[in-house]
Symmetry: C2
Subunit: 492 residues, 2 copies
């Protein structure tokens, strides 16, 4: 029975392992629409936990939610010169607003008379429509700052898609803030990057590098893009969140000016920042193993699953009575529990299933446990088991969940430490990059050098890190001056 759930192993084919896992753990699947996924209930339950926690953190930092239109007039995209280059290419274009019955009598066809005067683009990101709106909201410094976030779906037409990691439609949040000064906008950009990093590390249990993107990797329309980068088990980097300092670019493009305290008129300063369902990909890849998902307790749809093991109805009744007490105790400690007492599936099948689904703790109680007044507790991260006194199980589980959260973070951190390399020469770099990992090397700051490295090695500069060694040196390719080492990796 376990066989139908078997995954391709990571060592055999990492990409296939990932895809198998997403499908078999019932997280998501491809839909009938090219590049668009269906997020299934178990996957969506994780996304809801992510959303709820991030939303709380946004609100704690003074932000409010709003909602802006799905559609963007085509002309808006052209208003900011860099933005149009980055976003106005692969996108879904609405040209008509009506269908009519097919003259052949079968199905429906687009009504050629219902052509829009100006085409509408399904938002790939919302800077343009939002800044067009902010023009009406902001007149004076008293109207600032505007600290707005939106939870929404966006569409970017992608040729090669992968569930969660790269899909034509995805779900995300996009913060769009407006400020009276450059300094305040930069501070906001950094603050939100810190929120993302804290979320990734404390909730997803994924360690991240914080840094700034090079010019060529910047968001289209930004003066600076800050990012968090996470290392996956295959040694590739995943950009998990970005926060952009947009300067006055969008305010200029949409003519959003304000009167400052001294009565001078100036353009508004802005930021935008976002994370998406791509985080699901990072969460899945960072911790999971060949048996399935490994979820951090803080984001697991249920933290504990309980399976009864019995020979007959009488024994089930006795075990059930004990388990119901355990559930009550766990719930009193705010621990979420699934009790799987379904009779048409064997305990062994259930064990495999909940391992696949990454439930952090599994409790099982059989006849001997009943006699001994014990219960078996298995942890998903290490796959180890322990027999625990029934009277002590709730605090034991509470402690275990904390320990699992800490342990999977530490494991990911240890992996990253082991897979981070400092190299001095380009030869060394080219050898090293084949095995993946983060590579710290000196770079002369020139886009041409960056481009050469990318073309020759498929590695990109993931970020110029904020923390760590700031010693200057010489570029590994040109020998020119380098202000500090930057982080290279192959990336998702």
């Amino acid at each position: 029975m376990a066989i139908i759930k078997e995954l391709t192993s990571r060592s055999e084919n990492y990409a296939q392992w990932y895809n198998d896992l997403v499908l078999k753990a019932n997280l998501a699947e491809n839909s009938a629409v090219r590049g668009c996924m269906v997020i299934k209930p178990y996957g969506y339950a994780i996304w809801e936990k992510i959303q709820r926690q991030l939303d709380d953190m946004f609100k704690e930092t003074g932000h409010v939610n709003a909602y802006f239109p799905l559609f963007i007039p085509k002309s808006f995209l052209s208003k900011e010169a860099d933005h149009v280059e980055g976003f106005a290419k692969e996108c879904a274009v609405v040209t008509h607003y009506r269908l009519k019955n097919d003259p052949d009598g079968k199905g429906v066809t687009v009504d050629p008379e219902a052509r829009l005067e100006e085409e509408l683009i399904v938002r790939p990101t919302s800077e343009t429509i939002i800044w067009n709106t902010y023009r009406g909201w902001i007149q004076s410094y008293r109207d600032l700052p505007v600290l707005v976030n939106q939870w929404a779906n966006v569409v970017r037409w992608e040729m090669r898609t992968r569930l969660f990691l790269r899909t034509a439609e995805f779900l995300w949040q996009e913060g769009h803030t407006a400020h009276a000064t450059r300094e305040e906008a930069i501070e906001e950009t950094r603050k939100m990057l810190d929120v993302y990093a804290e979320f990734a590390e404390q909730y997803m249990a994924v360690p991240v590098l914080k840094g700034v993107k090079t010019a060529s990797e910047r968001f289209a329309g930004a003066l600076d893009t800050f990012c968090i980068e996470a290392l996956m088990q295959d040694g590739k980097s995943l950009q998990a969140g970005t926060s952009h300092f947009l300067g006055q670019n969008f305010a200029r493009a949409f003519d959003v000016q304000f009167l400052d305290k001294e009565g001078r008129r100036d353009y508004v300063w802005s930021t935008s920042w976002g994370v998406s369902t791509r985080l699901m990909g990072a969460l899945i890849m960072a911790h999971s193993d060949d048996n399935g998902l490994v979820l951090p307790p803080k984001l697991a749809p249920y933290q504990v699953v309980i399976v009864p093991i019995y020979k007959n109805d009488e024994q089930f009744a006795a075990i059930n009575e004990q388990i119901l007490k355990v559930i009550k105790d766990l719930k009193n400690l705010n621990i979420s529990v699934k009790y799987d007492e379904s009779k048409n599936k064997k305990p062994g099948w259930k064990f495999v299933e909940y391992e696949l689904k990454g439930v952090p703790v599994r409790l099982a109680m059989g006849g001997r446990d009943l006699e001994n007044h014990t219960i078996e507790a298995a942890r998903r991260d290490t796959l180890t088991k322990e027999t625990v006194d029934l009277d002590n199980i709730a605090p034991y589980v509470k402690h275990l969940l904390d320990d699992i959260q800490r342990n999977i973070y530490q494991k990911a951190m240890d992996f990253r430490t082991a897979q981070t390399f400092t190299v001095e020469t380009y030869d060394e770099f080219k050898k090293r990059i084949e095995d993946g990992g983060f590579i710290l090397a000196h770079w002369d700051g020139m886009p041409e050098t960056e481009k050469q490295i990318k073309e020759e090695t498929k590695a990109t500069i993931r970020c110029i890190p904020f923390d760590g060694d700031k010693t200057p040196g010489k570029c590994m390719i040109t020998g020119k001056q380098s202000a500090q080492r930057v982080v290279f990796a192959r990336a998702y």
Copy 2:
């Protein structure tokens, strides 16, 4: 200062009053995209409360959330014969997936080479894409029921739009469930209607009539549509939620079959149910007055606003000290509070502002209150004030909020009772309908009679009510047999 916020009165022009209120209370505004609105932070905060509460109620009744694609292949819409008639007409059609730089060198233009083989429709509702997906999820009775809900945006191209009430894009939830038997599907349809009714009455404080739609008002593709109808202050009815029994229509259209316990193959039974940002319109119109919004405490973004009134910094310091204690006490009782201590606005301006925004309770503290150890409490629904001992203010407010929630429901209920009329003849009906309200009358069950009434009076049958008088009678037009009175009204 109050003048800039002044609303058109309801008696002068009800439609204008509504529009003024939505704009001036910062709930929503029109966007640059025809028919699409921007939901502003204060409006969105109310919608978030609505969402959170409904989502809790859906989960309590066993439902889980998922997410399905924004786009629907054009051919899907034609698969269910009635559905295509109802939905495949006024909708946004995506025909291309790429823009390119305009040959004129200015802006971007649609790339004619990037035409989709099959056009994609922006979902007007998701039955088709969801049932196409369910084919892969359901094989056996063991896979049933499927109890899934989706929070999403949908688009229906509307020629005449009104903020919240009718917009091209709107936000909603759509439940889509699959069942092994007709009975279970009908039970689900009724259960979700009851959830909607409970939400409307207990949270929105809006009394609703529950009933079934006539064939001509049914959802396209349903065998039965149940609805809740609410009476607005202008005497028009607003359909606030619908729950559809879809029979096996979509299962047939998308070939979703299952093996039952006896090993027989049959099509799956289904339901769908939804409420949308239209509820915001109902909430606004049901309770508000010529001074602005009146919000039920259970859905108000903040339930209490506190305004200090002082002559100098010293007095402010003393008042502020007292108010901070009050805030602490209120928060301990889970009451949400906004403290407006902004110095650039006068208390009088604030009073008008928070009345406009419908904050249920306003507390104000001035020099005399400070001396007397009191605080002034004003309730938004009745606009009455009382001076309360400071030591007693938190429980006083708690009780007041409960009372306001009850009172605005009762007020709306009394209004509906007074505006519900039983008529016997069509002459009486035609006179009565001019003044609005619910009219209970006998109807012969024929679509032609219904159509005649609609054409001659603009009134429609809102529902055949579940509760109330079930006495048979004679149709007011044809004199033919009528099983029970039905509810007529003009409607939004």
